[in-house]
């Protein structure tokens, strides 16, 4: 008969069995091979964290400082893991982070990868990401906020809670704002349930700085600050190529030239949101390509034509007018 998965309390079990129960009781995966790792290589191999890091390097253009910081953090986590295995370190390190940068600089994308890295290294049990804003946490009337915030926290347990534009939680101009209540509940969980949840706060630099200045409790609990720089035009071109590739499109030579001109023009306009603006521009270009092909009703369209975005599809943008 198979050994029972569940051990009855007080029952005398074989040592092997009680060891698994203990491991499980400690909240980690049953029979975690990571716990016996003694070298960096073993941790890397068993956690397969290198695969995620390589993917991050490959899939995300630019972001050199962010990638560097993530490597540093991963190194720290691997070493901490080894220290924990030898009993040199009892408590899990504080892993709450802030991602600071303008819209469309890849904060959400990197947070998803970060959740995977933390999961592979065993710092969060599930590795899912719950992305929220103020509206998901803060209620409309007295007594509404606490249940709302807790609802979100319960869903995020075992994973990463990503709070976009976190500074909207704090409204100094209104001292009875319910955001403060959400902040207090968050702080409590960030402090007491480090093993259960990692919080990432994201937003613009100046407003995040102001937010941390007026919420020292929050500031002291955030261990890692990552700055997301704006992309260079060259990087945005590359991102455009990469996005199209993943959708099985390509740019013709004239389109490449058009994109090259388009990006600096778009960057000077209002509401420029880095990679997100590029994604939106490409969506519109695809629309124009479709319109162009649609007009040629009788003709058989080749695979190449269906894949190619021409210069005119880009140049029709109002950025050029």
């Amino acid at each position: 008969m198979a050994a029972p998965l569940y051990q009855i309390p007080g029952q005398t079990a074989s040592t092997a069995e009680s060891a698994t129960t203990e491991a499980a009781a400690a909240g980690t995966a049953v029979a975690d091979p990571l716990q016996s790792a003694r070298t960096v290589e073993e941790v890397l191999a068993q956690s397969q964290v290198s695969a995620v890091m390589d993917e991050l390097d490959r899939d995300l253009i630019g972001l050199a400082p962010v990638k560097g910081r993530i490597r540093d953090i991963a190194a720290l986590l691997v070493i901490d893991k080894l220290r924990m295995n030898l009993g040199l370190q009892a408590q899990a390190p504080s892993l709450h982070m802030s991602f600071i940068g303008n819209p469309g600089t890849g904060k959400t994308t990197v947070a998803l990868r970060m959740a995977q890295i933390l999961h592979r290294l065993g710092y969060v049990r599930k590795g899912h990401l719950i992305a929220v804003t103020r509206d998901d946490l803060v209620g409309q009337y007295i007594g509404h906020t606490a249940p709302k915030t807790k609802e979100v926290l319960k869903k995020a347990m075992g994973g990463v809670l990503f709070i976009d534009e976190a500074y909207y939680l704090y409204r100094p101009e209104n001292e009875r704002d319910y955001g403060q209540e959400a902040i207090e509940i968050l702080l409590q969980v960030m402090e007491n349930q480090r093993d259960d949840l990692v919080v990432i706060l994201a937003g613009y630099k100046d407003r995040m700085d102001a937010f941390f200045r007026s919420n020292p409790g929050m500031s002291s609990r955030v261990a890692h600050h990552l700055d997301f720089p704006d992309y260079q035009p060259r990087e945005l071109e590359e991102i455009a190529q990469r996005m199209l590739q993943s959708m099985h499109y390509r740019l013709s030579d004239s389109a490449i030239a058009a994109v090259h001109e388009y990006i600096p023009l778009r960057m000077q306009q209002a509401h420029f949101a880095n990679a997100r603006s590029i994604r939106n521009a490409l969506d519109r270009a695809r629309l124009r390509q479709a319109n162009r092909l649609f007009a040629q009703k009788g003709r058989q369209l080749t695979r190449d034509e269906l894949m190619t975005i021409e210069g005119e599809d880009i140049r029709a943008s109002r950025v050029f007018t």
Partner: protein
Amino acid sequence: MMTNPVGRITQGQFSYLPELTDAEISLQVQYGLNKGYAWSVEYTDDPHPRNTYWEMFGLPMFELRDAAGVLMEVNNCRKTFPQHYIRLMAFDSTRGVETIVMSFIVNRPEREPGFALVRQETHGRTIRYTVRPYATDRPESERGSR
């Protein structure tokens, strides 16, 4: 004769075992989550076996991934009702099942006074028997404190 000298009520799963620790509760909850069940927390101060519908402590929890979230709610309920019975229930929403598939007690009052056997004499020499929990002797608003 005392059949249940400690007076512990035995309802739902695991109720003949010693109290589950939080770690053990977490394991059960995670098992349910892995099967896609939605957990909910309920409480009552009336342990009568026919008292099937307990008060809900918040709504059933859907879309949770990890047991820590459920345990957070259990601890919330324990803080609010330390001297009540609290149970966890798992709902399986699979089409055609749509019912509670797990249920166990995770908190009980310090003192469980048990049940009185009530005899009712009816027509002829017939006697009807029923049980009445001592816990509900006093009005609801005065229970719990003693």
